[in-house]
Symmetry: D2
Subunit: 355 residues, 4 copies
């Protein structure tokens, strides 16, 4: 027999709120909200780590059966719902005004959200590269013991690693692929040529200089062509302007283009959920940044660094799957899609349906 | 110096998730979600109790200054935001399917949401009358020790009590009130007469029997007139068809009608937030009921009672402030509102503005 | 060349807000909110009807390929997100207080939300049985022209119809099924026997009469056994206590039980989304009811019927897929699940994976 | 008599969805979602403009009575709820994948969200300075007729203008103010001195260079002292690093510091709602940017400019009320707050309560 409060260990969970302002004899009403908001964030981080960990485990194999992709997809959708809730949760902490926060802020020093071990573990678990961290300082701020804990918790492959590995193994692209990719390249180039035409027409109508827009299109074209050239691609990896391997990147384009084939539907939806997660992590950062800057303006964070600047830069730059997201630059409409060679098309059906 | 994880006591909070299915050697992936959802519910319940408790304390006095009403209003709005989030939180637990729940449900017996002490404390703190509990059984299900704990935690006045008390002391209604209420009664009766006319016209156009609708209008009228008759009102209280005292009830009508007068603005907004809270508690019950019936269908709850039936009845009936909500039956439009006697109107200005 | 405002026909859409209170020379500030809220509801209803219509079309065929189930699933998830937003949208209209509504309510007569043609079309399109309408009156309230419009718009099969049809055609259950269902029955009966044991133990501990709970368990058992008896099942259909055909109902049980087999994953997720939609429609009704009762209390609705009573009853009773939802009463945990005969199990793999 | 569909002009509103892909004979299922999402955005923009316009009108007077501040506050809270919903609404359009968008994107050229007249009107109505527009180009993109329409719609004062004007007239600060502000300055400088101490201690413990953080503190101090020096303040205005007048800025500090005084409660809550609106507009931009970059990657927007870059820069920089938000850098905790001279304190009570 097990009872509700024992099962949930409520004696521990509900006895973990002890406002510092009380201890200092200057009770600040809003500190309770501050504590409980952070605790629920941490509880949900645990859940997110639990789900993402299970997804990594399922994908980290030589062969990932179709049905496991469905499981990963369902769990990732759950993670995304949780992240949405966590973004909304900022609305609750923001019912505390900056003045109310000021009444207990001094007592917290140097406690700071910067020190959430689970959030850092989550960043690494998703695959945020160390060298993408905007400030090296960020890791320095951890105590030695915590650094070790962090390293231990993230010793295995990241979500980025296993998604890349899984993509690289998606078959179907080797045979007849040359002809297919040639047709694809032509379709993209036609599309970009069309973009150029429109930019020029519009610029003329509006008496405006089209060069900025045209340069952007040229850059896009170079970026696109580089996807097919092993040498150029290697350079992009080197420069850090792409992270994902060439094979995996082409697999994403392939899946997106032929997503309506039965065997690519779930992989496509799974990739879409991965992009969604990346967006939601970014949104969480953005809301966090907005909340911090509202609460303390330009003041130096309790953790000792200039919070606002740092946070804003990370929000903008630290995407894990921007490689995948950015490929939407090179998608082509259904009507321009080259037909697949029959030998490949056949293999994208469920065999039980082709009989 | 205090550190983030110590401040939040994360060693306790994040070490309180121990799935029963693991202990039984049959790990069910979704049990972690089940545990963490319930724990975050409990954490937020603690915050809601904290805020409502502080509001009760501010209102439980002979004289409640205007500025404290503003504080109560802001805190109640926070509580309402929390309740909204808690309603949304059901979307997370519902990413678990009934089949997935079935995989660990048997291990939980007899743990059940019925046993949340904080939810029961919240119900009583808001002012849910004992005799409104649909099943006596509900209290019986508590262990003796928990009953005492519950009684101790709710020994003071409820939110209903202090709101009623505060309403009864709102001045302005005694002098000249007779003339005012007479005009008000006439306005309401004109409005109901108009309702009758419309019902008849519409019924005629549509060849339909108007009697059901007309009976309802008659019942409304009787209910309205009883508000002004001490004897009839006492009877309504006796029957349980009204709960709030006659004086407090008339104060609500007064505040709603003259809400644009400076001194009534905040009280009006505060009352609106009270109604909103009542709605959100009901919405929480509704979502809870839907979630339970989805998970276990018509099966008997782990707590031992027929969950669905019970929950649905409570959802519908157990409102605390339905008295206040139901008064919208008797509101009158601005153009029909009787002018206030000057002596009262004057007192509803901020004095600093009347000079 | 097409411009934004022409594309969206904003000249029409943004010139469709003409408050009645303005026309009556008594401008009521909140009427604009009232109009725009209803218009956005209607726009989203159009989108929901568009998506559900496309799903019906995909399912209304003799053979529904696996890949179309994936499309239906994705679209239904979109519909569910829209319904969630629509439920939240009540929070916006509720920023209008009952008193503010009263200032223009009289001008609207007899316009009323009851008359939303699209909502009625949606109800029928989902498959709400005519005889489940709580008040016949509801349809009577429509003008003759609108009745015809409604009939025309809902002449085809409903979502309920095509889901049932699709379920009936799901193969795999015929051969070897006897042995399988026998094992399943035993598992459920063991589970119910266990429920009884627990109810008795708990009742004893708490000195409480277990008979109510035991009766419920007996009723569940009878309901369960009737699923397998053509005669008894026909009777349930007759009484209206079940709506879905026996074959379709057993298919749901089968899919839920063996959901981890590759070919059942998507059907399972699709069914889960159907239940979710049913819940969200119910939630929308509930929020609508709450909103109406807050605005007008017990007054007779502008449409001429007693709004609150009617709405509350429909909220509770008018589920379309309660058949499917209620089957969670009879789900069994993974460890009790009878193994599938190899001949069936094999056919639930993707053939390309079994080689 | 007025009927629902006539009242809402549904004949116009629901007949305004005509997908371009249909006209081109290549129906793309998702275009309906694209249209309806944009139309509901536009409808809600109309509502937001309606509310903000009414607030501007109430504040644009020599004397703004207390009770009108309450009305403005309630309406601004409504606007904020609408903006929250609009941010959530991106989740709906994002159920369309980039590939699905690609199927009809080419048909829309050059229609683009850039051309929403109402959004531009909203930006100006809130008070976004012309010179804060990141790209001049933005206005150039409008047709001449639309530019005139835009100018006409925003000829009056902006929300920024009237909030500033209202703040400048808040009394209480003139007499005895010297002594008060001196005490305030000392409190802030003590606080900053404390920040320095902590930064040094922490840097020492962690063997880290404190100079970046110390520089930030020095900059904060200079910014703070400049608030009190007319000459320096004029310079900040000149440079564009502050926008709001010195008097209004000091009024914000005053209100925040003494917010618990009865007469400052509502002004404080109103300011808080203004900051919240600024945040939500920024959040809307952010979500819009994320959505666009997901849909088209780095491609040139249909409106002809490089969408992503532009949008991201505007998201970050184009705040209207950052002046107010940034003042939280200089708030002081309750215990450090200098007492108000009695003559001022007295005037911050409701006179009816001081008797």
């Amino acid at each position: 027999m097990i009872y509700y409060s024992d099962y949930l260990q409520l004696d521990k969970v509900l006895d973990a709120q002890h406002p510092e302002s009380d201890k200092h004899g200057a009770p600040a009403h809003e500190e309770m909200l501050f504590i409980i908001t952070h605790q629920t964030f941490e509880l949900w981080f645990k859940q997110v780590l639990f789900e993402v960990g299970s997804i990594i485990k399922l994908l980290d194999r030589d062969y990932v059966p179709e049905s496991d992709v469905a499981v990963c997809h369902a769990r990732l959708r759950r993670v995304n719902r949780i992240m949405e809730l966590l973004c909304d949760q900022f609305s609750l902490i923001e019912t505390m005004t900056p003045s109310e926060f000021m009444d207990f802020r001094a007592f917290l020093n140097p406690a700071s959200g910067f020190q959430s071990m689970q959030w850092r573990i989550l960043e690494r678990t998703l695959g945020l590269a160390q060298d993408r961290r905007v400030l090296k300082h960020y890791t320095d701020a951890l105590a030695e013991q915590h650094k070790q804990q962090l390293d231990a918790a993230t010793a295995g492959p990241s979500l980025f690693d296993v998604v890349q590995r899984w993509l690289e193994k998606i078959p179907f692209m080797e045979s007849g692929a040359y002809a297919f990719w040639d047709a694809y390249k032509t379709a993209v180039q036609n599309m970009l040529e069309n973009d150029r035409r429109e930019v020029r027409t519009l610029a003329e109508t509006e008496h405006r200089d089209p060069s900025e827009a045209l340069n952007q299109i040229d850059a896009n074209e170079r970026g696109f062509l580089a996807l097919f050239d092993a040498g150029q691609y290697a350079e992009l990896l080197q420069q850090g302007s792409r992270r994902m391997s060439q094979t995996a990147t082409l697999a994403v384009l392939f899946i997106s283009t032929y997503r309506q084939y039965p065997l690519l539907q779930l992989p496509y939806q799974f990739l879409d959920a991965v992009i969604e997660l990346d967006k939601l992590v970014s949104l969480w950062r953005y809301r966090h940044t907005m909340m911090v800057s509202r609460m303390i303006g330009m003041r130096v964070g309790t953790g000792g660094s200039s919070g606002h600047e740092y946070l804003m830069r990370t929000t903008m730059q630290q995407r894990v799957f921007d490689d995948v997201t950015s490929l939407s630059s090179f998608l082509i409409p259904a009507h321009a899609t080259p037909a697949l060679p029959a030998e490949i098309a056949d293999r994208l059906q469920f065999v039980n349906e082709t009989r």
